[in-house]
Amino acid sequence: MSKDILVIGGGIGGIQSSLDLAEMGYKVHLVEQLPSIGGKMAQLDKTFPTNDCAI
């Protein structure tokens, strides 16, 4: 069996999953169809409810 994990989609969901898995010591392949990761969140100016900058 393999212990590698495939994460499909590099938005905030995929990024967070990948980081958690990597921190737990697992090898992660993060696949994103666009040229860069970030998903919709990268397009946002700031985010509710704290109005922090999105990236």
Partner: protein, 456 residues
């Protein structure tokens, strides 16, 4: 985002898609397709020199088409990876024209017009699906006339207009005004070109164009073909200049958008489209109105909807704060249609559902809070993964384990699961990671037990 690019345990595979998935939990055989960027990832430093030299303008998808990028581009300025990509749909080389300017510019010799897609096989134990959502296409609602009216925009377009790194550097310039400014720029170029042509003629005949034109009009050169051409050029120049003057006069009166309307539930809670509530759009309308007010304290916003759904930690307070400190009023209403007046101001026609009255109100800009639509690629991906979709097109999950897809070893988080905001997506993402690890540990234990069983 930076951390993902740097983490030794993460293999970042951008511009890549899943081609094929075989096998089962603990033992998936996955084929990935690394799409050709026509730029060598190992060599490109992301310096952007190629972008400056590329002559081909392309509507910028990251800015929702509100600005332009080049045919060689990075997805956005701080994007990770920063590897640039050539868009073969627009690049001159791929369209049979002479160019290759980027190749000549690139010091790293990273440009490779011959690059092909690459297939890559991986052994995978568990899969997390985090493919997110699509913005609902509001042109499906004809009464909002999104495609016809310049100053009716979607909430994601509005985010780009608010952004300091966006196409308007954060100024709320109205799309109709931006179209006029673009026409002015174009006219200026044409006038400049016209001036050059006229200067040549003036040199040739040693006479100023207006003097010549007056004589020409008086019928002085009836048979002179060459001078007829000159007259034509001068008449065209007058026409361009007149149009340019008129537009510049108009543009001098342009102001940024100050009176804003938001329309809620565009495609959500609507039985013609999606009956569900998209959850986050009430909140992002309030957020966008608060930010617009931060940019310009004269901003006045009305948010139109059935109600405001501020369900989440600190959300109700956020809504009240918006009302008290950011000039936001909340109007219970049903929108009948959007029209526009001669100045391209959108005019809302709506029923005030408290007063039961039909009203009209004029705005500078209308923002549509579009639904969270399932990603249109979900169906194809679900087939490859052998998992089910819900009736709306999100990934189906188990009632008992709400992160588990309909096949062991596959987990779902974020808007691939259902319409949720960022904090909830993050929480789900951690759950999905934990479930994936659990599934692997269970398989490992079972394998060990089998071996122990064999040995004894």
């Amino acid at each position: 985002m930076l951390d993902v690019g740097r983490h030794p345990n993460i293999e970042l595979r951008a511009f890549t898609e899943v081609d094929k998935v075989e096998g089962e939990s603990g033992d998936f055989k996955v084929t990935l397709r690394k799409k050709a960027r026509y730029v060598d990832e190992a060599k490109c430093t992301g310096c952007g020199a190629c972008v400056e030299k590329c002559p081909t303008l392309v509507p910028d998808a990251f800015n929702e088409g509100l600005g332009n990028r080049k045919a060689i581009y990075s997805w956005f300025a701080q994007g990770i990876p920063s590897t640039h990509t050539i868009d073969p749909g627009y690049c001159r080389v791929f369209n049979g024209k002479k160019c290759g300017v980027c190749q000549k510019t690139c010091q790293a010799e990273a440009i490779d017009f011959e690059q092909k897609d690459q297939l890559l096989e991986l052994d995978i134990g568990a899969i997390v699906v985090a493919t997110g959502y699509d913005v609902f296409d509001p042109s499906r609602i004809p009464e909002y006339r999104y495609n016809e009216l310049d100053n009716v925009v979607t909430a994601i377009e509005f985010e780009r207009l608010l952004s300091a790194s966006g196409p308007t550097s954060g100024h709320l310039d109205r799309p109709s005004d931006r179209a006029v400014i673009a026409e002015i720029e174009d006219l200026k170029k044409q006038v400049k070109k016209g001036s050059r042509l006229l200067a040549n003629q003036e040199k040739k005949y040693e006479e100023k164009s207006p003097d010549f034109y007056a004589k020409y009009k008086a019928g002085e050169y009836p048979e002179d073909k060459e001078r007829q051409k000159w007259a034509g050029q001068y008449a065209e120049q007058l026409r361009l200049q007149e149009r340019l003057d008129a537009l510049e006069k108009k543009a001098a009166g342009f102001k940024t958008a100050k009176k804003l309307a938001f329309i809620q539930c565009v495609g959500s809670r609507d039985h013609r489209f999606y009956p569900f509530c998209s959850g986050y759009c009430c909140m992002h309308s309030i957020k966008e109105a608060i930010i617009a007010h931060e940019h310009d304290p004269e901003t006045q916003t009305t948010i139109y909807g059935m109600d405001i759904r501020a369900v989440g930690k600190g959300f109700e307070e956020y809504k009240v704060r918006g009302g008290n400190s950011s000039n936001i009023s909340y109007q219970r209403a049903r929108i009948a249609e959007i029209n526009q007046d001669k100045e391209h101001n959108p005019v809302l026609v709506y029923e005030d559902t408290r007063a039961r009255k039909i009203r009209r109100e004029k705005f500078d800009l209308v923002v549509l809070a579009t639904a969270c639509a399932p990603n249109r690629g979900n169906k194809e991906l679900a087939e490859k993964l052998g998992i089910d979709l819900s009736r709306y097109g999100f990934f189906q999950t188990s009632r008992v384990n709400p992160i588990d897809a309909t096949r062991p070893g596959i987990f779902v988080c974020g808007c691939a699961h259902s319409p949720i905001d960022i904090p909830e997506s993050v929480a789900q993402a951690s759950s999905a990671a934990a479930r994936a690890v659990q599934s692997l540990r269970t398989l490992e234990r079972e394998e060990k037990q089998k071996e122990v069983g064999k040995a004894s």
